[in-house]
Symmetry: C2
């Protein structure tokens, strides 16, 4: 409740700030985005958060920009006499946004900006400033490493890659064991998202240095898995065809899955239990016991964290659902193996159940309010949080990690 | 000498293999490249190593393909009635190649393939098989981690990122210290190249598991550095403008730098001595002493490894120059602080000086033969190697690491 009030106050401050921007004199103080590649002049952002984009394409007939940055709109760009196509747009909301150019209909990344894995391919991203926030930036504190960790998965019959954050002190305490948090990415993204787009290592470094979070190992694995014995199925679509303009980050699991569906272990659940957790526990110094293990994820990964965590409470005592879903609450005695059937049992067994949505992501916020009502009625204790002014994008999830991690393993 | 003979024999085998391909019946057994993104049908490679490319662009006027894959040529693609542009090409040589489409003149990455940092931007790459070689693939052996390591550089006034390989046994030997190898990337690439394009962790895992290389820590840092007090200069060009078709990977340091120039410490040299080495030695368990430290690099990074290593023989006893250069040998008593002035001294002080070039990279091979002649005349001991059939690309450098690493720290 305190967090909701805090969130609402912050939200009002944001609305005020936005209002100020719109009435302020339009400025022309554009500077290269902080996310630009070294030396790139474009994209540029003004102090009132308009974004100036440019692509040199003298022979193109039509150039447009699309993606989360434009709020899903396809915006035409204008060609000058040098063959540069330009446009200046207000971003949908502050935060981290994917975007791309459409050059005669073909999706093209901005050569001035880095790429990040989303929409099943490397896609341009841009950082729109969120004033007054630096919790996700590198500071003069001890820094942990993010490790690329390869292991063989018996279930999928393939080599898999996880990224593993070990806190700075892990190097200096050769015998000490650490609690373990799993962080899952969203639909069409991959295991690199949390460390690249999410800046998770800087968030954790800062929280640990301030004494707000206990030092922990954080594992980020891939959210897709296919059983080696399964018939070949169509994989997440990677099309050579140009995609229609997307309205933003894929929104993850659709709402309204049945209670029964929450009891069927997915291949990913099995990979977690049989491959990922044993591989991590045998390689790193991990504290045993469910009270030392947590799982959280965003969007599709939030729903997966719920499925894997709630169905395996012998393995996890804390669960975080970031812009995700809790399904099947029309039959609360059936969903997730019946964990919600007895609220007193659940509340004593689950140390943290945490749920967050951004105030600018309507579907997820509505969904959160819907399951909040049902879980409140059941007496299930959940910590809720709303990220002021942000949408279905990474800055929302950075804030969630900053709120969630300090609650763990205490 | 033994290596040169071995290389020459391998080269002849390659020529024979190539000849077989060309006389073999043309087959249509195209399969998705091993480097494709999950589920992508294109690019496809046939068993005789032709590459079939496709891009859907119904509204484009002209679509072409260019890059290392085409040997620097710009090749027109043909549009079918579905708006798919296609072409089938023979790759320049086997190995790892960058390429891109030109859609009405704009450089576009292949949506079916992953991107790798080169030409100062994320650029599509493809793996063309090199028959009979799997030394760079993951095997059922203990795997080390590649860690993203952040540290603040006083010289540049900026946060820098290194990638650090720690061998699998590093986790299990909490007190043991390890020797240290620095690996430098090439021009317009970045610190992720050796682990991503280079597969260095699998190469090291396999060498260590076979007992061919001693377990070592390998550090891959960025090859660019600007002093914080320097006047702003134009950085490596990141242009929104479409680039002309490149003939391949940027070829690195031009030949023919003066002997005097090899005595001036670059900003990167200073960053290595004052920032990178202290940061690594304070964070990881590193054996002290020059005989436990080596430095090697490819192309531009090979020349840098020579400059940093030969000018700091108090820090490094082993140096590897991969498709790089040794400069200033018209004045051998002056070059690199005069290290070549006394061959007996040099040969007793330097444990390994190693130099390699691919037989299909003419400039680098010619240059290597030129400095080999001069260093032979001076009596300087160098181990030379030629990679059969490969060009100025990552498969050449993977082979160099496989040859070089087993010589170190013994």
């Amino acid at each position: 409740m305190k967090n909701i009030i805090k969130g609402t106050v912050q939200c009002l401050l944001f609305v005020l700030a936005f209002t100020q921007w719109t009435v302020a004199q339009v400025t022309d103080d554009f500077k290269p985005a902080s996310s630009n590649l070294l030396g790139a002049e474009f994209p540029k952002i003004s102090s009132d958060f308009r974004v100036s984009l440019r692509l040199n394409a003298p022979d193109a007939v039509k150039v447009q920009v699309a993606g989360n940055l434009t709020g899903g709109k396809v915006i035409d760009m204008t060609k000058d006499t040098d063959g540069n196509w330009t446009v200046t747009i207000p971003p949908a909301v502050p935060g981290f946004h994917y975007y791309w150019f459409l050059v005669d209909g073909v999706r093209v990344n901005d050569p001035g900006s880095d790429t990040y894995f989303c929409f099943n391919r490397p896609t341009t991203g841009i950082e729109i400033p969120t004033p007054g926030e630096d919790f996700f930036m590198p500071k003069n504190v001890p820094h942990g490493d993010v490790r690329e960790h390869w292991y063989f998965s018996d279930i999928t019959g393939k080599w898999r890659r996880a990224f593993v954050y070990t806190p700075a002190e892990y190097e200096k305490n050769g015998a000490k064991k650490y609690p373990l948090l799993f962080l899952l990415h969203g639909s069409s993204e991959n295991e690199r998202g949390w460390s690249q787009q999410g800046h998770m290592s800087f968030i954790m470094d800062n929280l640990i240095a301030e004494g707000k979070a206990v030092p922990m190992v954080v594992v980020m694995d891939n959210g897709y898995a296919t059983d080696k014995n399964a018939k070949p199925v169509v994989q997440p679509a990677v099309q050579a065809a140009p995609q229609p303009a997307n309205t933003g980050t894929p929104a993850g699991t659709p709402p309204g899955q049945s209670a029964a569906s929450t009891n069927v272990p997915s291949t990913l659940s099995i990979v977690y239990v049989k491959d990922i957790i044993p591989s991590i526990e045998s390689y790193y110094r991990i504290l045993p016991g469910r009270e030392n293990h947590a799982i959280a994820g965003l969007s599709m990964g939030g729903s997966q964290a719920g499925l894997i965590g709630l169905n395996n409470l012998d393995l996890f005592a804390s669960i975080g659902i970031f812009s995700g879903a809790i399904h099947g609450l029309t039959e609360p005695k059936v969903a997730y193996g019946g964990v919600f059937a007895n609220a007193a049992d659940f509340n004593s067994r689950v140390k943290i159940l945490w749920s967050g949505a951004g105030t600018a992501e309507e579907m997820q916020l509505t969904r959160q309010n819907e399951y909040k009502k049902k879980l409140d009625d059941l007496g299930i204790k959940v910590t809720y949080y709303e990220s002021p002014g942000t949408a279905h994008e990474w800055h929302t999830w950075r804030r969630f990690l900053k709120e969630f991690a300090p609650l763990l393993f205490k």
